[in-house]
Symmetry: C2
Subunit: 504 residues, 2 copies
């Protein structure tokens, strides 16, 4: 245990057990919790709440909440509450297998929105009132302000708007994190908004702690537990080839004078492939890079350590246990180079466009014309959610989507005639990369985009099939601007549902 | 004819005929012209160029150009060049029937991109070099700077980047327009971008004229011709009902405290239904409104005249002949209340979000889950293009789409199981209105969104059919988050292609 983390005597007097805190949450409430990609989520109250909900259900009582967070959390939060059937409505992003199963069974309502829209839509009044906020912090200052934990997410908004607040003080989080955060209090509702005074990823424009009205704090809970901290997969051959194509392209853009030598601020989705891209970038001779992104994962921490990356702006972490140890060990070093912001700032369209981010995100599938599906398997079954990919893709300098060309042992092609769900339209996608190559869709009309994807991205096992669709569509489609054969456009997906493979 | 419009003697010496100017454009060039929704496009050089291209084709010579503009133009530009088969590639928006026919025949390549992306993507180097700019202005100052015409569009970018410039000085345009424009010269390429210092629709942040390097001006052509100025249809019962539902909703939002009494800056698409909505707003008791939009059409001019609208910011006009007469007659009045900007500013995501615009746009179709198709008929045949609808929808306070519930005498339903093309995803659509009612999709998961659309928007002739799809999909869909039956999802469109009606 570290030294005392609760320096406000007023709030120290409100320390209770997780059970006592959870007892303050009533059935039907809208509960807004901290947490972003498995970092900085409350560790104890959600578990205690899940037990309480279980007990209520055993007793035949209804008990479900509407749950909002920053983004995904962990088994102790989404998992436990979903298993207890305690969530009526979830937003804005989640990755828990139990919750996903219930969402796709139609028993848990899920709202999938741009992460940059969450705070403002709640402020606009589109989601009703927030009853309770449950926020993990790393400490409480004497004046009652809160030192954030390993994610900031929507915590500012939750604390400002909730009727009552429960604080978890997690002393497992490094106390050296104090000073890493930048909480911007200059937001407002229209018509009172002003320009956000941030012109590079390095800029600090806010405060290092979260304001919190102590009168609203109904409970403080001490915790001592790690973030989710899942390991990343070792970089495999497919990921390495994807990274290779992208890095070759970025170097080419530098040579052509379209990108500066230190590129533009990087945004990277979370996962094994983005991690491989970051690993590749670290070894490619680039220097003095910056990142303006949602999440810092292992690859970015390595780049900071090695001096490849000068600064990284984020709203949360997704670190393996080993990377987390490195982070804690050298936190004074990282505190000079990492700035953690609220997610309305980390993902703000104004800032992403101003900075000219290079947006690198994964996808489920893309179609011949460059429409991208980031969320739905076979058009109906949601995987995770759109997250911040749209905030970055739409407003970036370069909108890049990365994926292996096939999934499920080759039974699914990531390149299809028509995507079964659209999250990023043809208007928002510049570059698609698979292990086979890179399709540069910039400045191309639809049929030329198809040529790029056919020539560079599709797996050889699906190429003839996709060429055949495109050829026939180009000949007999109702319109030849975006050729399609409607009875076949989604047939690959139906074939997979019927036979277990998209191969015809 | 008015008095001398060319006050620069240097440029007055470069006055030539339209034919002589058109002769300076070579086959294969990228030519960037002025023009936005039929206003401020060059009237003479494109016609002369079309004749030149016709002659070349008769002589067996190849002659096509790559053509960029602000948005749509008129028969004298898109029509003439398309009829001459003189356009190899067109971007970013167009509405000409001849050009549309060629695009959908696959003989004219068309790139459909967000209007806020055009200037920056050209600056980024994604479209290669611009050979010639052909820009209509209303006058030339002594110092050689250009007084813009009835649209600004991308003219600043075209003048800055083109290797050679042809200027058309149209003295049909009112000279009283001088002072109405606000050309912002503070844009830059990343990483040098700064906040745009505009915080309300009224703000002037730039200059009243366009800078132009006189060394690049290869020809000046005098013209005297009207803009396209098509009349709007009289407000019919369907439009009136759509407007009524929307206005009732806006009043409700004011009563609930979610909107100020003078609303937030209005953005309105162009067309008969938006025009009817504006007419309805004018009669509804609202006062002190503002507009931050692309185009001023008749309805908005009326609102300015009647004092309902305090100020309107735009990049172009779409006026009927009668409204144009009114505009010219009282231009001193309108000059105090209209600010014309470049389209990168009129449509800028940073500004649309900051101001919290109320975005009102038409659509071709929406589906059960609120995905909107603005561009493609039956998935393959492009109508016009996305224009600025995405710039506003994504970043607005309220993203509203309006449409009659059916088209083509009831043979097409505007509400379908799955849209055949997606321009605005479920993440970007808050409100859908037809003559039957208003679906409020805010804060709702997909199946509840479907309920809103079924209960409020779909035409009675299609309701049972759409209910049946939704019922069966909700029971047997692979995933129940966004229920779909893939073999049927696009069957309504195919039925229309096969039988002439979507009715099953």
């Amino acid at each position: 245990m570290s030294s005392e983390r609760i320096l406000s005597s007023l709030l120290r007097d409100r320390v209770v057990s997780a059970e006592a805190a959870a007892a303050l949450i009533q059935p039907g409430e809208t509960v807004a919790m901290s947490g972003f990609t498995g970092s900085g989520y409350p560790k104890a109250v959600p578990l205690a709440l899940a037990r309480r909900i279980d007990d209520a259900h055993v007793a035949g009582e209804a008990f479900r909440i509407r749950l909002m967070t920053g983004a995904s959390t962990a088994p102790e939060l989404d998992g436990a509450l979903a298993q207890a059937d305690g969530i009526a409505l979830r937003m804005p992003f989640q990755t828990d297998p139990d919750a996903r199963q219930r969402i796709n069974a139609g028993t848990l309502d899920y709202i999938d929105i741009h992460l940059s829209h969450v705070a403002q839509h709640v402020w606009f009044g589109f989601y009703g009132e927030i009853d309770t906020a449950v926020i993990e912090v790393s400490g409480i200052r004497e004046d009652g302000s809160l030192i954030p934990s390993t994610s900031v997410g929507n915590n500012k908004t939750w604390l400002d708007l909730a009727k009552k607040v429960i604080i978890e003080v997690n002393d497992w989080q490094p106390d050296g994190i104090d000073g890493m955060h930048d909480v911007y209090y200059g937001t407002a509702l229209p018509p009172h908004r002003k320009p956000i005074p941030l012109v590079q990823a390095d800029d600090r424009i806010g405060e290092t702690s979260l304001r919190c009205d102590p009168d609203k704090v109904v409970a403080v809970v001490r915790t001592h537990g790690p973030d989710r901290n899942s390991p990343f997969a070792a970089v495999d051959d497919t990921s390495k080839r994807i990274a290779g194509h992208l890095i070759e392209f970025l170097k080419h853009e530098v040579r052509m004078g379209r990108l500066p030598e230190n590129l533009l601020p990087l945004q990277s989705g979370v996962g094994n492939i983005p991690n491989a891209v970051l690993a590749g970038l670290a070894e490619s001779g680039f220097r003095d890079l910056s990142a303006f992104t949602e999440v810092i994962q292992d690859g970015m921490l390595d780049m900071l350590r090695d001096g490849v990356l000068r600064v990284a702006s984020c709203t949360g972490f997704a670190l393996s246990p080993a990377a987390n140890e490195e982070f804690k060990r050298n936190i004074a070093f990282y505190r000079e180079r990492i700035i953690m912001r609220t997610q309305e700032i980390s993902n703000h369209p104004e800032l992403v466009r101003r900075l000219g981010c290079i947006a690198m995100n994964g996808m489920i599938e893309a179609d011949l014309y460059g429409n991208v599906n980031s969320t739905h398997v076979m058009g109906s079954r949601i995987m995770n959610g759109i997250g911040g990919s749209g905030d970055f893709a739409r407003n970036s300098f370069l909108s890049i989507f990365l994926s292996p060309s096939t999934a499920k042992n080759g039974s699914i092609s990531a390149l299809v005639p028509m995507v079964s769900h659209v999250d990023h339209t043809e208007h928002d996608v510049s570059i698609i990369v698979t292990e086979h190559g890179l399709a540069d869709l910039r400045g191309l009309p639809p049929r030329h985009r198809a040529r790029q994807i056919l020539d560079h991205c599709v797996d050889p096992s699906y190429r003839a099939q996709l060429e055949d669709y495109f050829d026939r569509a180009s000949r007999v489609s109702y319109g030849k601007h975006t050729p399609h054969l409607l009875p076949e456009a989604l047939s690959w997906h139906q074939r997979w549902l019927d036979t277990g493979t998209m191969l015809g």
